[in-house]
Amino acid sequence: MQKINKNVVLALLSLTSLVFLLFQLYYYKFYLSQKNGPVFSKVRGSQSGQDSTRWHVVRKFLGLISSHNIPVYLIDPLILGLVDKDIEQIRSSPDGPNPECKYFCAPRDFTTFALLDKTWKHELGVFRTAEKMGFQWLKIINKDPRLDGMDDLSGIEIPLHYIFKLASHAIHLVVFYERSGNYLWHGPLRLKQHMDRKFVPFRKLHFGRYPGAYEKPELLLVSIDDIKVQIPKNPSSFLEEMSHSRFLECRYREARAFFQLYPDDASLDAVEFRKKAKSLLHLAALTLNNLGVKFWLSSGTCLGWYRQCNVIPHSKDVDLGVFIRDYKADIIPAFQKAGLPLKHKFGKVEDSLELSFQGEDDVKLDIFFFYEEDDHIWNGGTQAKSGKKFKYLFPKFTLCWTEFVELKVHVPCETLQYVEANYGPDWKVPVKTWDWKSSPSNVQYNGVWPVDEWDDVIQIY
């Protein structure tokens, strides 16, 4: 009998352990699928339960929002990506019946919506209704960057992000603010100490790692998966914009410290120059943006932004950088049309191109073209009288948005390296005499233009 018992026990044990193992496997899989969403759930066949949860949560959320008359629009990159594939069809039949849940059921942890700050105020009511509907919510607030540049104002923190969670799905509501320079800004998502770090997997949010800058989007009301929702009129360009949306705030605190050391020049000349430089920059930005040429603040203008959040009054020009791959032959006529005649043109498209335009009253606009190599980026300089060539080397950089003199413009994201390459470690100390051929710490002698090319590569008007 004993032997039999042993057998029975063994068999039963194996059986239970097997069941247990299966359960564990299932649980692990489920856990992973929650974590990595798309990867695992694609493997699994039927997912209707999960899918419809997402759809339901989105619909419930939009119900909540519309009951409070808050206009939101969809900015979820995943869904917009799917929508973009069918955009023609969706546009043409805004009310067309949808056979299947194609978009809002797509596997993901979040659905992201945008909200314009000025279109709403009374959040308390929304939260109360949300709670009644079963949502849990989280609000992320922080300092108002629009007042950051101001010496001594305090008082308001503004909401930057909201997260509404229901069942296994969460809605990420990003608050966009209008800022000087006619663009929209959203803040970074930073958790304060007492906040629930596990409220949602924050890492997987599509917005919030960095602040972002966007154009004001044109919206389109569409009906997808039987849900009426506003989306950016052109999803693909929105997605493109999103991938380069990172925004850098000016370093206002450091700028204040700088002005403590070196008081600002408040003379009439300085005021006048700043005013002219600002309007020249506005004009240049308008012209280049119309052409679709991407540019950034370079040299002294970039230093002014980085060091003092303003135009350096004793600089004599406005400097912009453009990648040579973005060069267009239309640039010169476009500037001339805008009232900025070409002053000189050095180099050629293949090598060391540099354009200078004459703004009003001796303020000059310099556009340097940058050439990308494997491990560095450079631009060229030419001395008119000798035909000598110079090369200015920079470490590789990417472009970020910032706000400067009420304009949304690009600067190198790695600004410090860029400025240090150009001005050396003592860039914090203002220098009034500057020789572009010898002062920069990244200048290299680059030979001489062949004399027969001079007519082409050294044009002065």
Binding site: L15, L18, H122, L153, L189, R190, K192, Q193, H194, K275
Partner: protein
């Protein structure tokens, strides 16, 4: 592996027979059985290992996630919340009150809540209101009852304090000289035994609950007219009540929550905190049809005069066409009570660290407020600038909505202001009439963004320059010959009597009798004729129809203007050059209008009303309108009075109206 799953459908007895069959089979194959046993054990072992690994994996994954979500998204500022003072469960407060000739102080539970030993200041009765549940100071006032009328203010204040609050009184120096019977009776009704007999230079302290018990009272009589009573120190205990008793039970709405927060913190705002019938804090005035200023931001410039701010915001939020979302209150300094007032009305407020002193501080506060306004509302082309001591007319926004397009289109305009410097009860008549003037009145005005950003902001006076911002804005370098549009009857009323450049006498003389429009929806009649060239034609038309007054009479006499109504009269005064205002100033003085500097002029012409007639004054020969003077008429000349001290006072008070 699926076949291993137990089938729940199988009944237990069936399972047993299945097992028996197996057993018999195996009994016969020992070796096989042995093998099976080892296999099973091995399998068990494997499952255990896999299980452990799985558990570890899941735990690690979960841990990583926590780590991950933490990095990157942490606020680098690490805003460590300052632990709040633990709510003391104490039910009894120790209160100490001291009264003497040169010093008063009040300490609650060892914390000094009032201490005043400054010389020549703080004379009179100091009053402190404590919350009966928390012991927090809700209001602090001093009434200089040595001087007249202050006792009336004290009675007004004490009547506004809610029942049940704890009141603490103490006298510094002298507090009885103008303490009338009404006030003494109020103090008596609070339970004071001594108050009715308070006399010259007595020292007195009193602690009691409004409408309830007395916690203590001490008094020291002055022995003689020339000496003060001995200092008195009152030490007593106050029993706190429960929170429930200290609050009103208003229905739970968002508005009432704001009200509750406000009323549990501060006192002295009267019916807004009344339990039975609280005055509304939301006004919902009628919207304006075609409101052109709905999206124009409104900046309210405030200091630490929360009672003024309260009155101002009430009138502002009651004005037709107001858009509360566009209002921002800028508070100069980290004062709590003004912020409480702002929050009571659900508006947004911003505090500004004070920079510099006196007039320069105001000036820096203005700059920061204007810059912030245009940063917060980058779309705005204009901003409305208001101050905390103004009443706002019910048709303020209607007035702006009808005129703002001029500021946009007419480059020769500097501002639109709601204030007519010369618009007194006896000199303003027509709510639908507008003027162009060369002076900038301020006191509720509209600023163009381009003017601020391109011209004013870059060269705004720096903190070390002790300039008035408005005086600076009036300087020719800034104004550049541009003009402001003003109404005949002001759309704002300046009620502040305490301020940087303001006192009671001054207010009485120059501001109290100012006319203020109370008629809603006034349709302005001559808006288009306010444009630069059209206005000249309008003036010429007016002068053409005007009757010339008898210049042999004294213009200060009432009979100078005939007893008619609705006529247009003109008078000519001597004005040698553009800056010669000798006669005008004397005329202004005798007409009891603004005479401290020149206001309200347009090319040597002043427009006002006398006895309901339009009254024009032209300076000859400086004014281009001098040609309208009949050759027989000799311009009036009025001699300035011989040198007297008044001349010294002018520069000091010239800027008075701004605070």
């Amino acid at each position: 592996m699926d076949e291993w799953k137990p089938n729940p459908a199988i009944k237990p007895h069936k399972k047993r027979s299945w097992y028996l069959a197996w057993k018999y089979k195996l009994m016969n194959q020992r070796a096989l059985r042995k093998l099976w046993q080892t296999g099973a054990v091995l399998f068990l072992l494997v499952t255990v290992i896999v299980n452990i690994k799985l558990i570890l994996d899941t735990r690690r994954a979960a841990y990583e996630e926590e780590e991950e979500s933490a990095q990157d998204y942490d606020d680098e500022m690490l805003n460590v919340e300052v632990p709040r003072h633990p709510v003391s469960n104490k039910k009894v407060l120790d209160v100490e009150v001291y009264s003497s000739r040169s010093k008063v102080y009040v300490a609650v539970d060892g914390t000094t809540v009032l201490e005043d030993e400054a010389r020549e200041q703080g004379r009179g009765i100091h009053v402190i209101v404590l919350n009966q549940a928390t012991g927090h100071v809700m209001a602090k006032r001093v009434f200089d009852t040595y001087s007249p009328h202050e006792d009336e203010a004290m009675v007004l204040f004490l009547n506004m304090v809610a029942r049940g609050r704890i009141l603490i009184f103490t006298i510094k120096d002298e507090g009885s000289f103008h303490l009338k019977d009404t006030a003494k009776n109020v103090l008596k009704s609070l339970g004071s035994q001594v108050a009715p007999f308070l006399s010259w230079r007595d020292m007195w302290t009193f602690v009691g609950k409004k409408g309830g018990e007395v916690y203590g009272e001490k008094h020291a009589k002055s022995p003689a007219l020339s000496t003060w009573g001995d200092p008195v120190l009152l030490k007593t205990e106050v029993h706190l009540t429960s929170m429930e008793d200290a609050e009103c039970h208003w229905p739970d709405t968002e508005l009432n929550r704001r009200r509750k927060r406000f009323c549990s913190k501060v006192e002295g705002y009267g019916s807004v905190c009344s339990c039975k019938d609280p005055t509304p804090i939301e006004f919902n005035p009628d919207p304006l049809k075609d409101n052109k200023v709905f999206d124009v931001p409104v900046a309210v410039i405030a200091g630490n005069r929360p009672n003024y701010l309260y009155r101002m915001l009430r009138s502002l939020l009651s004005a037709q066409g107001v858009n509360p979302q566009m209002i921002t209150v800028f508070i100069d300094g980290y004062y709590e009570e003004p912020m409480d007032v702002v929050e009571l009305f659900g508006l947004s407020g911003i505090q500004h660290t004070p920079i510099s002193i006196k007039n320069a501080r105001v000036s820096q506060h203005y700059k920061a407020s204007l810059t912030a306004t245009f940063n917060l509302f980058p779309d705005a082309k204009f901003a409305v600038v208001l101050e905390e001591d103004l009443d706002i007319s019910v048709d303020f926004f209607s007035f702006l909505s009808q005129s703002i397009h001029l500021l946009e289109e007419d480059e020769s305009l500097y501002c639109i202001s709601a204030w007519n410097d010369q618009g007194y009860e006896h000199t303003a008549e027509d709510p639908s009439l507008l003027y162009r003037v060369e002076t900038m009145p301020g006191l509720g005005w509209v600023l163009r963004k381009s003017l601020y950003k391109d011209e004013l902001e870059p060269k705004w006076p720096t903190p070390e320059k002790l300039w008035d911002w408005d005086m600076w804005m009036r300087m020719p370098e800034q104004r550049k010959g541009r003009e402001c549009i003003i109404p005949d009857i002001s759309r704002s009323y300046h009620f502040g009597i305490v301020g940087l450049n303001m006192n009671g006498y001054f207010h009485e003389a120059y501001f109290k009798k100012h006319k203020f429009n109370t008629v809603p929806n006034v349709q302005l009649k001559n808006v288009e004729s306010l444009r630069k060239d059209a206005y000249e034609m309008e003036i010429h038309r007016l002068l053409g129809e005007a009757e010339v007054l008898d210049h042999s009479k004294n213009p200060c006499e009432d009979s100078f203007v005939p007893d008619t109504e609705g006529r247009v009269y003109v008078t000519f005064i001597r004005m040698e050059q553009e800056a010669d205002f000798t006669t005008w100033t004397q005329l202004a003085k005798c007409l009891h209008i603004w005479d401290l500097d020149v206001r309200g002029n347009h090319k040597g012409l002043w427009r006002l009303f006398r006895k309901k007639n339009h009254f024009l004054v032209v300076g000859v020969p400086a004014s281009p309108y001098s040609s309208k003077k009949p050759s027989a008429v000799t311009p009036i000349y009025m001699e300035p009075p011989a040198k007297e001290e008044g001349a010294v006072a002018v520069p000091a008070v010239a800027a008075a109206e701004q605070t």
